[in-house]
């Protein structure tokens, strides 16, 4: 398939297939990594970022490398491309591409391969393109450098590539600059650049992490489609197990710089052998599982790579650890093509299922008390004026556009939507960090906007917030103890001498040790910092906590721990949560009721199970279709209707129903007026005229 000439413009070949190492016989791997070791020399010591990594990629295959932050997956990809910083990185081992050893090559020889035979796309589409150069130039650059194409030919090829990746109106795009394109479009441009010279291998490092769920689905479908059509092998690096299940042929699981399991997607998901892989798969909240079981999590956190544990790196967190684990485990092949690095691979299955049956605690169901509405939002609107120029009237960003919703005491309302839909703004309105442009926000019956300063301070004690970024939401110059004590002192809840005890109590409540009160935030891990954020929110004994993407920035295994903690606290202290997130599985797990937002409006509202079992609104259905489930068997059989288009600008929302340009059910009538919210089933309301 690599000999196929790629051209969609008639029969004229615009790009000759890559010359160099001869394409392989069937069965010969395209990329063969053997015992790859990467170390970084830092002032703190030597960080062993990748150790003993070995795997293969065959032509046309899609291989996923899964792991959490710090597992070494990105570093291993950069090592293949030799893009690691020359001063500090030491690479050893063997990387053979088409039979040719890459690690010994000179810089110039390697440069000829980069972008030509092996291409790489990165995580952040917003910053990966040069802001001062036109898109056209950035796409034609590899063509002129590697293939020596002249202007006319490279321009034609660029247009061909943009069409291939689904960008409309490619001719005018060539003259645009990156900042004029959205995130999804920029990532498509990156893919176009990657495919420009018809590479045999494309390495994608977290290509969709920074994108919304629906855009993510579009990009990944595109990559899979191109991979099949053009015969390009793809290595996709990600921490999202759903993506892996949906798209990958083979999976390599990395933990703490080592490969711990390798096999086909079906086998690794269907029958995970390594305790870490097993733990990951149970720790991920899933759309296809019940919500009543607590997430079974992996205790602890990934090791420090400056000083990793001896023997098996997973040893400190493993439930099945025995003395033998002090020795490095070697790879055992349990089934053909399915390997795991664990001494107890053969026995684990038997032990684990027994343990799991005993252990699965069901969490008590939390339902609100029906008559007790603690937070009532009525017709809330928040518009931000944007100056369009000196003499023109300011335009309005309609961030929140007529939202009406009730939250009962003791329940969790999940607010779901993609970036730019207004969910964070709504959260801020609830906390009165912004004043609504119109509408009322009633907390325990009192309109927040009408309260004076004194009244508001009293209310602030009852409402708290946990933010998304555990790194920037804690003041780096205050100790943990000071951070947690601050709200107590501000609201004068306790006399000074009693504060340290209360801080210790709170720390224990969130699963941290009391001595951590003396630490600074930078000394804690992401998960620990988020716990501190939770402790701080609990310090004033609030009734309502707004969790604004509180677990989105955490690794899967830590996420599970924090979710369990939040649920447990809710149970114990009778808290009410407004849980804002974009990850559907997490929202489903933790919420009792869910509201779906799109461009400032609520399009559907229902109890959690009902919404995910019977979604009615086309947008909700699209979101669910786009979110992959970490189970390849289910994924292979699911119908794949990917929603097209992008989120319209909130400066200029479409007339009538805001979803109509992208909706498969849209008719002329939809453009006439905003659809009213109708209750289709008890507690289940939808804003659509066609369902």
């Amino acid at each position: 398939m690599n000999n196929e000439v790629v051209s969609t413009l008639g029969n004229r070949a615009l790009v000759e297939p890559a010359s160099g190492p001869a394409p392989s016989r069937a069965g010969e791997p395209l990329l063969e990594i053997q015992d790859l070791n990467v170390q970084f020399v830092t002032s703190h010591g030597t960080v062993r970022a990748v150790e003993g990594l070995s795997y293969e990629v065959h032509p046309g295959e899609m291989v996923a490398i899964v792991g959490e932050s710090g597992s070494g997956k990105s570093v291993s990809a950069l090592a293949v491309m030799q893009l690691l910083p020359a001063g500090t990185a030491r690479t050893k081992g063997s990387v053979r591409f088409g039979g040719r050893e890459l690690l010994g090559l000179t810089d110039e020889e390697m440069r000829k391969i980069r972008g030509r035979d092996i291409a790489m796309i990165f995580q952040e589409p917003m910053t990966s393109l040069n802001p001062v150069l036109k898109i056209g130039l950035q796409i034609t650059e590899p063509l002129t450098i590697h293939l020596g194409m002249d202007d006319a030919k490279s321009r034609a090829r660029a247009i061909e590539l943009l069409t291939l990746v689904g960008i409309t109106d490619p001719e005018s795009r060539l003259n645009q600059y990156p900042h004029q394109l959205s995130g999804g479009m920029r990532q498509r441009v990156m893919i176009a650049i990657g495919l420009a010279c018809n590479p045999k291998l494309l390495i994608a490092d977290e290509p969709t992490t920074a994108l919304d769920v629906t855009i993510q689905a579009q990009i990944l479908e595109l990559m899979k489609d191109l991979s099949r059509r053009l015969g390009v092998a793809v290595i996709i690096i990600t921490h999202n197990l759903g993506i892996v299940a949906r798209y990958a042929d083979r999976v390599n699981v990395m933990y703490a710089a080592r490969l711990v399991e390798s096999g086909t997607a079906e086998r690794v998901f269907g029958r995970p052998l390594h305790p870490y892989a097993r733990g990951l798969l149970t720790a991920v909240p899933r759309l296809d599982r019940g919500r009543n079981a607590k997430l079974s999590t992996i205790d602890g956190a990934p090791p420090n790579l400056l000083n990793p544990p001896s023997g098996c790196r997973f040893r400190p967190r493993c439930r099945f650890v025995i003395d033998k684990c002090l020795e490095d485990p070697s790879f055992m092949e349990m089934e053909p093509g399915h390997l795991a690095a664990c001494h107890r691979v053969a026995e684990i299955e038997a032990i684990d299922t027994e343990d799991r049956r005993i252990e699965t605690a069901s969490k008590a169901s939390v339902n609100g008390h029906d008559d007790d509405s603690i937070l009532a939002i009525k017709g809330a609107k928040k518009f931000f004026p944007v100056r369009a120029g000196w003499l023109r009237k300011p335009k309005l960003v309609r961030a929140v556009n007529d939202v009406t919703i009730d939250i009962r005491r003791g329940e969790t309302l999940g607010l779901v939507g993609e970036s730019g839909c207004g969910k964070s703004t709504l959260g801020r309105l609830v906390l009165r960090l912004d004043d609504p442009t119109a509408g009322e926000i009633l907390f325990e019956g009192v309109d927040l906007a009408k309260l004076d300063r004194g009244g508001m301070i009293a209310v602030r004690k009852k409402m708290q917030v946990i933010f998304q970024d555990p790194y920037s939401s804690l003041n780096p110059r205050m100790t943990v103890g000071q951070i947690i004590a601050e709200p107590i002192r501000v609201h004068e809840i306790l006399p000074k001498p009693q504060i340290p005890d209360r801080v210790a109590e709170l720390l224990q409540l969130v699963g941290l040790f009391p001595y951590m009160a003396l630490r600074y935030p930078h000394e804690l891990s992401g998960g620990q910092r988020q716990r501190v954020g939770i402790a701080r929110a609990l310090a004033v004994d609030p009734r309502v906590i707004v969790c604004d993407e509180a677990v989105s920035a955490l690794d899967v295994s830590i996420q599970g721990q924090v979710i369990n903690l939040l649920e447990e606290l809710q149970q114990r202290l009778g808290l009410t949560y407004l849980f804002i997130a974009h990850d559907l599985a997490v929202v489903r797990h933790i919420s009792s009721k869910v509201a779906v937002m799109y461009l400032g409006r609520i399009v559907e509202y229902a109890p959690s199970d009902e919404l995910f079992a019977n979604p009615k609104h086309p947008y909700t259905k699209a979101l669910l279709a786009a979110a992959p489930v970490p189970d390849p068997v289910i994924e292979r059989t699911r119908p794949r209707t990917i929603i097209k288009g992008e989120l319209p600008s909130p400066l200029n929302p479409p007339p009538g129903c805001v979803f109509n340009p992208r909706c498969p059910l849209a008719t002329e009538e939809c453009k006439q007026a905003v659809p009213p919210t109708r209750e289709l089933a008890p507690g289940h309301s939808v804003a659509c005229i066609h369902v």
């Binding site: 893009l83 440069r111 990165f122 990966s128 393109l129 040069n130 650059e141």
Partner: protein, 317 residues
């Protein structure tokens, strides 16, 4: 781009008006009475009537608002008034002296840019090697050495090594380029060295930051070679803060000319400034301050326009 240029040009006008008003009032706050100083210059005792008569003659006895009105009307006609000391029109006094000062300022700016960009780039590329260290030492010296002292050193060096001193007396460039340069190059170097130092350091740090950006990694991943990455991808992005710094430093440069012109005995704006201040000749001071403010505003206008040319995000929003 056109809209951007027009917008910026239009914004200059209210800025100038604001500066003119501020200058008027600030000057009148200054102590010292020009009439008294001028008439008492030889030490003789002057009677009160003479002082008042002189005041009246110069129009200083009018109430403040009348003086202000005269001033603003005068400005509209580009008439800056008459020097209270020499009686000549302020505009004329400035006009005869400005060519040399402006030329020195421009020359030092050219020297600075010509040195800073290549040196800053090399320093960033060969970071932490002896090349980098040398450049950084040279740059820090430029910041540490006062320009007038450097000027004096240059004169001493020329005298002792070559037995030659720069002539006094300015010849315009088009009449006799060699003679002109023989006079202007030395003050240009003294002032330009510091100017270059600031720009070099900025270039270096800006380039180091740009090299860490994601799009440079993308360029490498595409197989672009280092030199081309520098030229096409890195430099243009790195230039943005450097251009800003060059614009800002130009203002300090004009101020620095004050002392340097004394050192090299050049009859320029700087010298005029010193003299006028000593005598409390506030019409002249007013005119000079207004002039410098105008130069500064236009230099920054150019910087802004350059910015728009370099960075499409600025001109297209």
């Amino acid at each position: 781009m056109l809209w951007y240029v027009i917008r910026r040009l239009v914004m200059v006008i209210p800025t100038l008006i604001g500066v003119a008003i501020a200058v008027f009032f600030l000057i009148r706050v200054m102590p010292g009475d020009v009439v008294v100083v001028k008439l008492r210059a030889d030490g003789a005792a002057i009677s009160e009537e003479t002082i008042q008569a002189e005041r009246k003659r110069l129009g200083l006895d009018k109430p403040l608002y009348a003086q202000f009105a005269d001033y603003m009307i005068g400005l509209a006609h580009l008439d800056l008034g008459k020097s209270l000391w020499t009686g000549e029109s302020v505009l004329k006094e400035i006009a005869i002296r400005i060519p040399v000062s402006l030329q020195i300022a421009l020359m030092s700016a050219i020297i600075a840019v010509a040195i800073a960009i290549p040196l800053g780039t090399i320093s960033a590329l060969y970071r932490d090697t002896w090349i980098d260290h040398t450049v950084r030492v040279v740059a820090v010296s430029g910041l540490a050495i006062p320009s007038f002292w450097l000027g004096m050193l240059i004169i001493l060096a020329l005298l002792s090594l070559f037995n030659w001193l720069p002539k006094i007396g300015y010849v315009p460039f088009w009449k006799d380029p060699v003679a002109n340069l023989a006079v202007t190059i030395w003050p240009a170097i003294s002032v330009g060295y510091r100017y270059a130092a600031v720009a070099t350091r900025m270039m270096r740090s800006s380039l180091l930051e740009v090299m860490r950006e994601d799009y440079i990694r993308t360029a490498r991943a595409k197989g672009v070679w280092t030199q081309l990455i520098m030229r096409r991808h890195a430099l243009r992005n790195a230039m943005l803060p450097v251009v800003t710094v060059i614009g800002l430093e130009f203002a300090f440069l004009i101020g620095g000319l004050v002392v340097t012109e004394q050192v090299f005995n050049i009859n320029g704006i700087g010298k005029l400034f010193v003299d006028a201040t000593a005598r409390g000749d506030f019409n002249l001071i007013q005119g000079l301050v207004l002039l410098i403010a105008t130069i500064f505003i236009f230099v920054n206008l150019i910087v802004d326009l350059l910015y728009g040319w370099l960075d499409p995000r600025i001109r297209l929003t």
